[in-house]
Structures are given as structure tokens and as C-alpha cells.
């Protein structure tokens, strides 16, 4: 019975996300069916938890009925749109198929094994890993036991736990599942993490299928699924993989929009996903800035007379969407004085950064350790560096330059974080170095797929 309830809870996330996507793309279908399903999962979680946060402002208690009502209402609106249009708009067409059948079966088996194993590893244990328990699950438990976000939660209770300034997307998602199950089952609740894993693999596969065949897309999806570190973080209750999901979705839909700016819905989905990245982990805000920078670069390098006004509207809408999603949490953080204990933004000055030049060596050493250590990453970073060198002339070509910049900016952003961290650098590097790389790893795989499409005719 509990498992059935759990599956219904997951379906509610997808239902909510699907309806948001339908509303965004009701005029022009911009995603294929499966892209919508995989994007709907994370989108649904993000919006349902934002809705739960709004209960704090409205001073109302959590109830499943109240949480679901707006999504049923949105469904009715979408139904009216559907019937007014006289049916369903055609889905985005995914070209190419076939490929090497034997290789397809092998790669698909590999993906299935990794996915099933991720579900097994997540669900065989209750919450137990350090951050999962100390930072996230305990907050979810407190909110579930309170049956609401109490008025004094952000000024009192939350300070009992580690990192009170961390966003509540996943803790509130866990609370929602507890509410739905009617019990604090911290084993079943872990299903959300391998589902993010599966969602990310699904999204990666279908965005590669937009420009390549089945075998090619399966190959890169398999590469991502089979990276030990990536798979492990689908099972331990940490938020690095959910963050990777939102970062990837926001980045990849932005890259696709750069190819065809007539599909404004893609830009909107990218903005929403970026906003949800910030609502999942503080690092997500860095990715919002990266995406905004990429749009600014795109506009500067593609400026045409007559389009300036439209570009300005696009950019301000993007920033506004992120801001609207981030505002409730930022408001709470500022008003409750929830301060980050690791990063002091007042250190973000050129003089301070230059004065920390001695930190560069340990940072490089840590990245080197990660890149050359196959235990966690197989040889993905070695391939990455090899391709950077061999294909240096190509990485800034028209169709790939934004993915390249995204990766460089992500690296640069984390180096900057280490330069200004107020924690002991050795400790900070050893506790976060391998996790930060997860955040943009799916974009690295996508970048490889873009880069090698002419080299591999599979």
C-alpha cells in the first residue's frame, strides 16, 4: 500500500510539471513527449515545493488536498485550451533512428543495469549518509512533524540544524512524500534521487537524439550512467544530482534555443529550471548567473538591427523568471538572517582574490587528483582534456561554443568559490571537490556528443 502511495506521489510531481509544460508550449510544441515527461518530474517537484513554501507566508498547514488543488485547476485550464485548439499540437519530431542493433542492446543493457542498481542502492537503506541526514532529512522530518512551516521556523527551529541557509526544495519534497504516505518512511522517500538520475539520463538521451541517431545517443547516455561517482550520488540523499538535473535542463534548453530563437518557450523552460537550481542548492545561483552571461554573450555576438528590443525583452524576462522563483526563499533568508557559513561574499573583490594566490596550487592539485582518478570518474575527465587539446579549434565553433563556455564558467566559478571560502581550504576541497564536478558533468557529456558528431558515424 505504501509503495502504491509513493508511486501516486511521484505521478503528482509529473502531473504538475506536465501541466506547467503544456501551458508553456500550448501554442508551439517545443519538446517531444519523453522530454516532457523527464522535464516534468523536476519541474513538478520544484513548483510543488515552492507552493508548500507559500503556505508559510499564508500561515496555513500542509494538506495534500490543498497542495494538489492548484494543479487540478491548471489541468482544467489546459483542458479548455486543448479542446479550444481542437486537439493536441504535434510533438517535436526527433529525427534519425536505427543504428547498430547489437551495440544498441549492449548500451541499453548497461543503462538499465546502472539505473536499476541506482534504484536498488537508494531504496535498500534508509537515509544514513552525513549531509543527507544532518542537513536535509532532519529538516524534512521537522516540517512533517510540525505539519506546516511554523511561523518561528526560520528564526528558531532551523538554527538547530546544519546549514540553515540551504534551500528547501528537496527537504520539502521529502515532507510532501511523508504527508502522502502518512508516515515518516525515510527509506521509500529516497526514490526521488534515482528518479532524478533516470530523468537526467532520459533528458540527455532525447536532447542528443535531436541531432543524432539512436546508437549515438545511447552511447553518451551510457557513459553518463556508468560514471561511478554520478551513480553513487543518485542513491545517497545528497542534492548534487538533483542540482545537476536542473543545471543540465536549464543549460541544454538554452543551447537549443540559441539554435532557434523562435521557440521562446525553450528560453522560458531554461529560466524556470535555472531558478529551480537556485531553489535546490546555493550553487544553483551561480548557474543562473552563468546562463544569464551566456544569453548576454549570445546577444552581443548575434546583434542585428531591429532585434535589440526583442533581445532586451528576452534577457529581462529570463532574469525576471529566475528572480520570481528565487524571491520567496531569498526574502526568507534575508529577513531571518540565514547566512552561509562557507562563503563570505564580501571577499569577492579582486584584491582579496589576488591576495589568495597561494590557494591556486592546492585547487589545481585537487582537480588533477579528480581528473586522473578513474575510481570515481572512469576516464571521463581524461577524455575531456584530450578532446579539449585535440579539438581546440572546434570548441568555439558556432554550435558548440555556448556549451564550452558553460563548462569553463562552471570551472571558473568553483575555483572562485575556493579562492574566497572562509573554510579551511584543504577540508573544503576534499569535502566538495568531487561533488562540484557532478553539477556540470552532464553538460560535459552533452558537449562531447556535440563535438564528436562528425567523428563517430554510428
Amino acid at each position: 500500500m505504501e509503495t502504491l502511495k509513493l508511486l501516486i506521489a511521484v505521478c503528482i510531481f509529473i502531473f504538475a510539471g506536465w501541466n506547467i509544460l503544456y501551458l508553456i508550449s500550448s501554442k508551439k510544441n517545443i519538446l517531444c513527449f519523453w522530454e516532457k515527461i523527464f522535464a516534468a518530474y523536476g519541474l513538478g517537484i520544484g513548483f510543488i515545493t515552492l507552493e508548500m513554501l507559500s503556505f508559510y507566508f499564508l500561515r496555513i498547514k500542509f494538506s495534500i488536498g490543498l497542495i494538489i488543488i492548484p494543479w487540478v485547476f491548471l489541468f482544467l485550464i489546459n483542458s479548455v485550451i486543448y479542446f479550444k485548439k481542437g486537439g493536441r499540437a504535434a510533438d517535436e519530431i526527433i529525427p534519425g533512428s536505427g543504428g547498430n542493433i547489437v551495440l544498441n542492446i549492449f548500451l541499453l543493457s548497461g543503462i538499465m543495469i546502472e539505473t536499476i542498481y541506482a534504484f536498488f542502492r537508494a531504496l535498500v537503506k534508509p537515509m544514513e549518509s552525513y549531509d543527507a541526514v544532518a542537513i536535509y532529512a532532519i529538516k524534512a522530518k521537522a516540517l512533517y512533524l510540525a505539519g506546516s512551516i511554523p511561523g518561528n521556523f526560520f528564526t528558531g527551529t532551523i538554527n538547530l540544524f546544519a546549514h540553515p541557509d540551504y534551500p528547501l526544495n528537496i527537504p520539502l519534497c521529502e515532507t510532501f512524500i511523508y504527508l502522502f504516505l502518512g508516515s515518516l518512511n525515510d527509506q521509500l522517500v529516497k526514490i526521488i534521487f534515482p528518479l532524478y538520475f533516470a530523468g537526467l539520463l532520459g533528458l540527455l538521451y532525447f536532447v542528443i537524439r535531436r541531432f543524432a541517431g539512436r546508437t549515438y545517443a545511447l552511447l553518451f547516455t551510457f557513459l553518463l550512467a556508468a560514471i561511478p561517482q554520478f551513480n553513487a550520488y543518485a542513491t545517497n540523499g545528497y542534492l548534487d544530482l538533483p542540482l545537476a538535473y536542473y543545471c543540465f535542463a536549464s543549460a541544454v534548453f538554452l543551447f537549443i534555443w540559441f539554435e532557434d530563437t523562435s521557440k521562446a518557450g525553450l528560453l522560458f523552460i531554461s529560466a524556470v529550471m535555472a531558478g529551480l537550481a537556485g531553489w535546490t542548492k546555493n550553487e544553483g545561483l551561480m548557474y543562473c548567473i552563468i546562463n544569464i552571461s551566456l544569453i548576454a554573450i549570445f546577444f552581443v555576438t548575434n546583434r542585428k538591427k531591429g532585434l535589440v528590443k526583442r533581445y532586451f525583452i528576452y534577457l529581462s524576462s529570463y532574469i525576471f523568471t529566475i528572480f520570481a522563483i528565487s524571491l520567496p526563499w531569498l526574502w526568507i533568508k534575508v529577513s531571518a538572517h540565514l547566512v552561509n557559513s562557507e562563503i563570505n561574499l564580501s571577499n569577492l573583490t579582486p584584491w582579496y582574490i589576488l591576495s589568495q594566490y597561494r590557494r591556486v596550487w592546492p585547487i589545481i592539485y585537487e582537480f588533477q587528483k579528480q581528473f586522473l582518478g578513474p575510481k570515481k570518474w572512469n576516464i571521463i575527465w581524461m577524455i575531456f582534456i584530450f578532446l579539449l587539446i585535440v579539438k581546440f579549434k572546434k570548441i568555439f565553433s558556432k554550435d558548440i561554443r555556448y556549451a564550452t563556455l558553460f563548462i569553463f564558467f562552471s570551472f571558473g566559478g568553483y575555483v572562485l568559490i575556493y579562492m574566497i571560502t572562509s573554510q579551511d581550504l584543504a577540508w573544503h576541497l576534499s569535502s566538495t571537490g568531487s561533488r562540484f564536478l557532478i553539477h556540470f558533468l552532464p553538460v560535459v557529456i552533452y558537449w562531447m556528443a556535440l563535438l564528436l558528431k562528425k567523428d563517430l558515424d554510428i
Partner: protein, 136 residues
């Protein structure tokens, strides 16, 4: 280029298999999974918290009124106390840790007696609960 990529793919597959098997068998995970699969949710929580320690936490849960304050007295020995302390805090919530606790949870350390406290519950000489006299 094609040959290099093919070679990289073969190396990838070999390493993938090695690490997959290593993860499953060499890291003792297979043994853990076997035990975990045979347990209920509470049994699993107990397993990941160390059964002996979880028994003590269950005793505390039973005896401490909801919303109590506590502190730990633990002889750490050769185990990583910080992770077990974190799990204990998670299981005991809404009871919370305090510098001036109503209860002291003693694990792995015999003969702890603090002035103003009395033994309130006991599993054995190494696992017991002290309560501040007159606090309950």
C-alpha cells in the same frame, strides 16, 4: 581519431566492469545488502546506526518526553563518532542537544556519573541514560 575513441571506449568498458564488481563485492556492500534486505524499516535504521547504539536510542526515545534536551557522553574509541552522532540527532528529533541537558546519553563508557543526575534507564554497564534530578 576514430581508433583512439574506439580504444577509449574499450578501456571505459573494462574499467566500468571492474569498478562495478569492486563496488558490489570488494567494498562489503553485497554482505550489507543481504542483511538489509532481510530487515524491516526499523531494522534497517538500526543496522545503519549500529544495532547496539540504536538499541540505546530506542531506550532514550521511550524514556525521554518529546522535546527533551540531551547530551552525549561517548568513548569514541576507533569508530567515527561524528556520523553516528548525526544519525542519533536525526532519530531523536524533536529531542534536541543542549549544553545544559535534561538527559545524558552514555555509550561505550562505564561508570559515568555526573553530579545532579541519576540513572534513568539502562541496557548494560556501557549503555545507559542519566536524568537531571528533578527535571522530569
Amino acid at each position: 581519431m576514430k581508433t583512439i575513441l574506439k580504444l577509449a571506449f574499450i578501456v571505459w568498458i573494462v574499467l566500468w566492469m571492474i569498478f562495478f564488481i569492486r563496488e558490489l563485492f570488494l567494498k562489503n556492500n553485497f554482505k550489507d545488502y543481504k542483511i538489509l534486505l532481510s530487515r524491516t524499516l526499523e531494522g534497517k535504521q538500526s543496522y545503519v546506526t549500529v544495532d547496539k547504539f540504536y538499541e540505546l536510542l530506542s531506550l532514550c526515545k521511550k524514556n525521554m518526553p518529546e522535546g527533551s534536551t540531551y547530551a552525549f557522553r561517548v568513548l569514541e574509541g576507533n569508530f567515527d563518532w561524528s556520523i553516528y552522532k548525526t544519525r542519533a540527532a536525526y532519530y531523536l528529533y524533536p529531542d534536541v542537544e543542549s549544553d545544559d541537558p535534561q538527559f545524558i546519553i552514555v555509550y561505550n563508557e562505564p561508570n559515568v556519573m555526573k553530579e545532579g543526575y541519576r540513572i534513568y534507564g539502562k541496557l548494560d554497564d556501557n549503555r545507559y541514560l542519566l536524568n537531571k534530578i528533578g527535571s522530569r
